[in-house]
Every structure is written in structure tokens, then in C-alpha cells.
């Protein structure tokens, strides 16, 4: 834990799941309803800083989030990324992408290509309760 790291100091969003080593949060991003992060609790920089069993636990949770997003939001594509250049605390971005979203087909970190339609965003946001339920089911199966 480091005092300067926002993911050591803060949950990072609405917590959808937590166990002894990681958490899943729903990111508060108006343009990307359903944008989730899987965050390792300990301040670890890279995936290969984890032991293989922990890497596997992390990726299995990323896969559960991807599955829950596909099941409930039916996105055109899932984007997965572990970057951490600014916050070197291991975290996976799991982002549901749609052809009409702000950046598609570019990554969400590129320049925006359009203003997303408010109705489409509201429709996606209406599925967040189902997303929470799907992830709760997926993480109670173990």
C-alpha cells in the first residue's frame, strides 16, 4: 500500500465483488455504462509480479466480468487492458464497446469520434442491475 496510489486509497468505483485478493468495480463513466475494473488489492505493478496461481485468479475474474457484460449488455466488442502507466497498481479494464459509442472503432483512449446518443446510453445503463446480478451469480458459483 502506498500513500500516493489512488487504488490503494480508494475503492475505485461501485464495488460489485470483493474477495481476499481482488475486487471488481463498476466505473462511473457516463459514456461507458458497464465499464468495469478488476483491481488487485495489493500494490503490484505487473501481472508477472504475481505468482502464476494469482495471475490465473485475476484472469478468471476478468473472464467472469467479460461473460457478465456479454450476457447483459450484448456489446459489439469487449476491450480488455492492463495499462497502469499513470497508476502502476495492477488493474484490468473490461470495457463493453458498441459501434455507436464515443470512440468506436478506436480504443477509448484515442480521440473521441462522436457524441454518443443519449437514448442508447440510457438503454445500456438500464441493464446495469442485470449486470450486477449476473456477476453476483458468476462469483457465487465457486
Amino acid at each position: 500500500m502506498t500513500a500516493a496510489c489512488e487504488l490503494c486509497q480508494d475503492t475505485g468505483g461501485e464495488e460489485l465483488y470483493r474477495d481476499h485478493q481482488l475486487r471488481v468495480v463498476l466505473v462511473d463513466d457516463a459514456q461507458y455504462p458497464g465499464f468495469c475494473r478488476v483491481i488487485w488489492h495489493a500494490h503490484v505493478k505487473e501481472m508477472t509480479d504475481l505468482l502464476p496461481a494469482s495471475r490465473s485468479a485475476m484472469m478468471q475474474m476478468v473472464m467472469k466480468v467479460e461473460s457478465a457484460l456479454r450476457e447483459t449488455l450484448n456489446p459489439d466488442k469487449i476491450n480488455l487492458a492492463s495499462l497502469g502507466n499513470m497508476t502502476p497498481h495492477l488493474q484490468w479494464h473490461v470495457i463493453p464497446r458498441f459501434r455507436d459509442d464515443a470512440h468506436f472503432p478506436a480504443p477509448v483512449w484515442a480521440a473521441a469520434q462522436r457524441q454518443p446518443d443519449a437514448g442508447a446510453l440510457a438503454a445500456r445503463a438500464s441493464h446495469l442491475a442485470a449486470l450486477r446480478a449476473a456477476l453476483a451469480r458468476a462469483t457465487s458459483e465457486d
Copy 2:
């Protein structure tokens, strides 16, 4: 295999490793010496379209590439991403990042922040032979 998919039609770079289900290629990107991709041979869109054992094989190869990059290029950060918005054929970007690279600390898909120093790029490129050797070692250990 689809005729319109560039990763079905083309290797995608200098092949560093190949087995029956995936390949590792070195991307020809002058700004990012050492940028690798792990590409699933079959035209699959998402990680969760693979069976769990195949997902695990894919990620274990991503981890070998990350380790080989850290060992030989000593980057400030590793960036991992599976995007595929434009080419929906499962592929992992494994990108060694440096504080003085063209986009740091932004992702490589954001606007460039600087022109990287030619000497620094040449120094990184000089480690590519060691990278090839490290990955060959890592993939012959199984």
C-alpha cells in the same frame, strides 16, 4: 478463417514462436521496438469464445512474452490489451513502455506527446536479438 481478416491472411509480423493454436509476432513499429502480439490462429472474436484451457494457454503465452520483454528491455511498464474493434480476431498486444516513449504515460492509442529520441529507440532495438533468444528459451521449457 475469413477472407476479409488481415490476421487470417497474414502472419502479422516477424514470427517469434508458433504452435498449433497460436503465434507470437514482433510488430514492425519504429516507435515501439519490442512491441509483440500474441495471435490466436483461429478467427475467434473474444477471450470468452475460447474454452477455459485455451484462454489459459493464451494468457500463459502473454505472460511469457511479458517476462521476456522485462528481462531484455527493462521497460518502465508493460501494457497488455485485447481490443480487436477493427480486426475482431483474438490478439493480445504486449507493449514495452518507457517514460520517454512517444505517448507515455498515455496509452499508445492516444495522441502522441513527443518525438522519441532516436538514440533511445536504437538502444531498445539493439536488445531485440536478446528478446528473440529469451522467448525461444521460455517457449522451449514446456
